[in-house]
Amino acid sequence: MNKMLNQSQKLNPKLWDKDIEQVPIRNGFGEGLLQAGEKNKNVVGLCADLTESTQMHLFKNKFSERFIELGVAEQNLASVASGMAAMGKIPFISSYAMFSPGRNWEQIRTTICYNNRHVVIAGSHAGVSVGPDGGTHQAVEDIAITRVIPRMTVISPCDYIEARKATIAAAELGGPVYIRLAREKTPVITTDETPFEVGKAQLCYGGVASVADVGIISTGALVYKALKVAEQLKSENISVKVLNISTIKPLDVEAIVNLAKTTGAIVTVEEHQISGGLGSAVAEVTTQGNPVPIEFVGVRDLFGQSGTPDELLEHYGMGESHIWASCKKVIGRK
């Protein structure tokens, strides 16, 4: 067991194994929604012709009377959910992130958030790792457009277990929630025992109070790559702390400011445009709480394209080598 891993996080003991179990993050949403539905009869599922692809079919198969198929109509999806929430239901709506919250952003803002309705928006197929479908289907703007809306909670799980916990937790929150999901198989880095709380960041690598040369703040599937880079840097005698931001809004300001204070240099890592996403959110709080140099790993004002997930992550500068180089660079800026 690696000593640098934060033991209180109870991460997957096989984290460093080559054959680490890989499961799509969206599967956690499907399982979580099924459990939330079993727990609370007010939970309902609405989908826009992507029921299996977003894993809502698990809920549909068990609770067909609480499932509504709306066809390819994402604007209607958001507002019908608002109306159901007004009657006391807890609607979960699912589609690809590009279409919901992409296409239906105004309906989400006005009919869900402005109305303060408890609707959970699950956006699957976020990030360039969608792969061969190409740029139209790769949402790399969804964090920016959701976190900017008042009242919205934004959750971006790092693996399918965290996605399951986030989905169950979202059913018990009030107000609007966005959950960002990825299509591809993703290494499972957490366990059932890993603590999860909406609004709390998890320090996965390094000690909470200890100092380090650099802090990596990541979200979603790239947390795994961030951990691998931390391990690589350790072998180069560079100490690293890795913070998993599963809730992008409300942001765990205390954990981020503490990371800035104990490392003095930060690298943010996300499968999203660097403008408006996690990196921007981190910069917003560190500039006020404890200004330190930051390097941003993410998509730089470009659209995606077809390719394998790995080819695309490398091409758009989100591979392990890019995270490594950003860490070296930011340490040099101290």
Partner: protein, 306 residues
């Protein structure tokens, strides 16, 4: 609290029609006073829909002004939020809040926001303004109620819509879903006044044959004179009697109804009295003329305020 069992919609007596006509006129006067005090807002739509809102809040709706959150109430969703002066005025006159409060329309910290906002006035069923979203919400409400109470629940779900907002694709997404789901408790009322901000609807984006469009989406269609209380109430009654699908009442209304210089003129869609418009009465005279016409019912009676 209303008795749940007998929720039949009664036909109107002559006395009730007279009462409703007088109420609608009072509501039109309030609308003009609100818009003049606010200095901005929409005139034509609110005046045109005053009769329909009066019929709903004083006869059709099962609601309780003293208990706005009564769970068994009918739901009335205003989709075209810009005609909210008529919603606010009708709610005030029916006892939801003091009529004097109407003069706070569009003012800082007012409960009567320029477009309806539930944060400020929680007794509203929804916040609205961006067009084309209200019917979706009413569909969602009706779907939720059917999950809980089956097809023979007590509540009706009414959605007030404009004709102009039928330009938006989302309206048709909702129309399609309501037809698929056979929502017999859903009744949409389209304010068919043929105007929108940029001009007459059939020039901006033709909607006709509108009734055929709804029918082809498996809706039951009623077409009425939106200023005739007997027609309004009997059309709603027939729509309520349609069990296995949604209904739409296409209400032909005269925009600006009751104020001669505003009637049928799209230029009054988004302007309050006191707006300089070529060919209209001088802006200083507009409110005076409008109030005089309403108070005298177009010269039929002498105003007691003059």
């Amino acid at each position: 609290m209303r008795v749940l069992k007998n929720n039949m919609l009664n036909n109107l007596t002559d006395e009730k029609i007279k009462f409703l006509e007088e109420k609608a006129n009072d509501i039109r006067i309030s609308i003009i006073e609100m818009l003049v005090t606010a200095g901005s807002g929409h005139s034509a739509g609110p005046l045109g829909m005053a009769d329909i809102f009066t019929a709903f809040y004083f006869h059709i709706l099962r609601h309780d002004q003293k208990n706005p959150e009564w769970p068994e109430r009918d739901r009335l969703v205003l989709s075209n939020g810009h005609i909210c002066p008529v919603l606010y005025a009708t709610m005030a006159h029916s006892g939801y809040f003091p009529v004097e409060e109407l003069l706070t329309l569009r003012k800082f910290k007012s409960r009567l926001q320029g477009h309806p906002h539930r944060d400020y006035l929680p007794m509203l069923e929804t916040s609205s303004g961006p067009l084309g979203s209200g019917l979706s919400q009413a569909v969602g409400m009706a779907l939720a109620d059917r999950m809980d109470n089956g097809v023979s629940g007590n509540k009706f779900f009414y959605c007030m819509m404009s004709d102009g907002e039928l330009d938006s694709g989302q309206s048709w997404e909702a129309i399609m879903l309501a037809g698929k789901e056979k929502l017999g408790k859903l009744i949409a009322i389209v304010d068919r006044n043929n105007i929108q901000i940029d001009g007459y609807t059939e020039n901006i984006m033709p909607l006709e044959p509108l009734s055929h469009k709804f029918e082809s989406f498996n809706w039951h269609v009623e077409e009425i004179d939106g200023h005739n209380f007997a027609e309004i109430v009997s059309a709603v009654g027939r729509a309520q009697a349609v069990f296995d699908g949604p209904s739409v009442i296409i209400a032909r209304t005269i925009p600006g109804k009751g104020v001669s210089f505003m009637e049928r003129d799209y230029k009054w869609h988004g302007s309050p009295p006191g707006t300089e418009i070529t060919g209209e009465p001088s802006k200083d005279e507009q409110a005076k003329i409008a109030l005089h016409e309403l108070r005298t019912l177009g010269g039929q009676i002498k105003s007691e305020h003059e």
